[in-house]
């Protein structure tokens, strides 16, 4: 069983095998996030009660970007923040202890809000499961929706995204890497057929 794969770090990029290709470039990512933002508005009939929460690490930057786009479109402020899920993971015994990432819930809280969880890659679904548990301990949203930049398939739980930047059917041997300007210098989604790497 593959572990729940989250976006890999930049250092992985330096050891990337030769067969790496770009599936989304910076312009593609911007377009995808803009589309997702519009879909969120459409689905929820406006930005009232919206709270956008990113799952660390890269989901947080994506959440802030989506909130900014929606805010521009609506000419309003959409609260955004981060929701760390480390303490809710189901694989703690399998991995070395992780340092916690910040959880920053906007001042309005999440009670009665429509919370849109944002992550970079949707894979096994275990991260989202953990995020739902974490969110439940913070408050009681009216509804929870899920937006991801890339859906690469291979779900291990009955979870699906409401908003998807790009569906990317992958092999379990392949690796999906998301680079974002906030962390990595530039925006790109790469896929590599790791020859047993990872």
């Amino acid at each position: 069983m593959p572990p729940a794969q989250r976006s890999s770090s930049t250092q992985a990029a330096t050891t990337t095998p030769a067969t790496t290709r770009v599936v989304l470039d910076a312009a593609d990512i911007t377009r995808a996030l803009t589309r997702i933002s519009h879909e969120i508005l459409e689905r929820n009939k406006g930005s009232a009660d919206l709270v956008i929460l990113g799952i660390p690490t890269r989901g947080v930057a994506l959440a802030h970007r989506v909130a900014a786009v929606i805010g521009q479109v609506e000419d309003s402020h959409v609260p955004s923040g981060s929701l760390d899920i480390t303490m809710y993971r189901d694989d703690l015994r399998l991995r070395p202890a992780r340092t916690l990432e910040p959880t920053e819930i906007p001042a309005r809280g999440v009670d009665g809000a429509v919370v849109v969880l944002v992550d970079d890659v949707l894979f096994s679904g275990r991260t989202v499961r953990a995020a739902l548990d974490a969110l439940g301990d913070v408050g009681r949203p009216k509804a929870v929706q899920l937006a991801v930049l890339v859906d690469r398939g291979h779900r291990q739980l009955p979870i699906r995204a409401d908003f998807v930047g790009k569906n990317l059917p992958t092999s379990l041997l392949e690796r999906v890497q998301v680079s974002l300007a906030e962390y990595d210098g530039d925006d790109a989604v790469l896929i590599s057929s790791a020859d047993g790497a990872g």
Binding site: M87, Y88, A97, L100, E101, T103, D137, G139
Partner: protein, 307 residues
């Protein structure tokens, strides 16, 4: 980080920073409606206390419970243990119970070390104070409290005053705060500094007044007045006059300096009542921070592959 927390000497700077950073995130839990995390669900933490210390035990118990661990309190005082059942037999009992972590307080220096290295138990061992050796989680919570008030500890001056010879808090703090870059000065009458203290990564002084002007924090250690029966000092009054933090000395501290005490305090002995209750005394906050720090320690020790 290693599998056990026995001494702050075993913590690298990165280990210590990881614990403090984790504790920082966990402390925000205190403001949430639901303070409990599911992280250690199904894990068992045993509090094995051979010495009375309600404060420390409660702090560890709260930490473990907020992480959803099952907690077994094993107070060995007055039980079969003090009547000769060996540490080994107790350890084997805990092992049979399937303890994932043993938090041990013991009157004999090195007892946690013994438990961890003897092969009697597979669990992680957390030293909750052993004899006159160490009390690592107390030092971690002190460092945590210092960091919240002073920022990063590099170059910060911390003065620790009192019965260093018998203080596990002083030992653990001297090592940890030095690891974190602070400049530590131990102040005590010569009788209460250990032989060999010159090999510690600290300055020492017999003169409290000379150490006050430039320090960023002063930590007062509990001094048992019984020590005067062993001629460590002539009288409680003389001790208090030479080494107590009274209002006059407090006034000489820099504006930003904070006052700490691991508790329980002897008001009027090592610290005056007014100083203990002053706004710049962070003694009550130390207790709150203790839970977050102990949560961080339990999380980091237990959320790893079992051996």
């Amino acid at each position: 980080m290693q599998r056990h927390l026995l001494s702050t000497a075993d913590l690298t700077r990165d280990d210590a920073v990881q614990i403090l950073d984790t504790a920082e995130e966990l402390r925000s839990l205190a403001d949430r409606p639901i303070k409990k995390l599911p992280t250690l669900r199904g894990r068992t933490v045993v509090n094995l206390f051979f010495e009375d210390s309600t404060r420390t035990r409660i702090s560890f118990e709260a930490a473990a419970k907020r992480l959803s661990a099952d907690v077994i309190n094993f107070s060995a005082k007055g039980s079969s243990v003090s009547k000769g059942e060996s540490l080994k037999d107790t350890a084997l009992t805990l092992e049979a119970m399937g303890a994932d972590a043993v938090v041990i307080r013991h009157g004999s220096s090195g007892a946690p070390h013994r438990l961890a290295t003897s092969g009697w138990v597979r669990s992680s061992v957390v030293n909750a104070g052993d004899g006159t050796h160490e009390h690592p989680t107390q030092a971690l919570l002190d460092a945590f409290t210092l960091r919240r008030h002073l920022g990063e500890l590099d170059g910060r001056r911390v003065t620790i005053v009192g019965d260093v010879l018998h203080s596990r808090v002083a030992r653990s703090n001297a090592l940890l705060l030095s690891t974190l870059g602070a400049e530590v000065t131990l102040v005590a009458p010569p009788t209460l500094l250990p032989v060999g203290v010159s090999s510690w990564p600290v300055q020492t002084s017999y003169d409290l007044d000379a150490s006050l002007d430039k320090c960023d924090a002063v930590m007062m250690l509990r001094v048992q007045s019984e020590r005067m029966n062993d001629a460590f000092f002539p009288s409680a009054r003389e001790y208090s006059r030479r080494y107590g933090l009274d209002d006059r000395r407090f006034a000489r501290l820099p504006e930003h300096a904070i006052v700490m005490h691991p508790g329980p305090m002897n008001r009027g002995m090592e610290i005056s009542a007014d100083v203990a209750d002053h706004a710049r005394s962070v003694i009550v906050e130390q207790v709150t921070n203790g839970v977050a720090v102990r949560m961080a320690v339990l999380y980091l020790l237990l959320s790893r592959e079992p051996a």
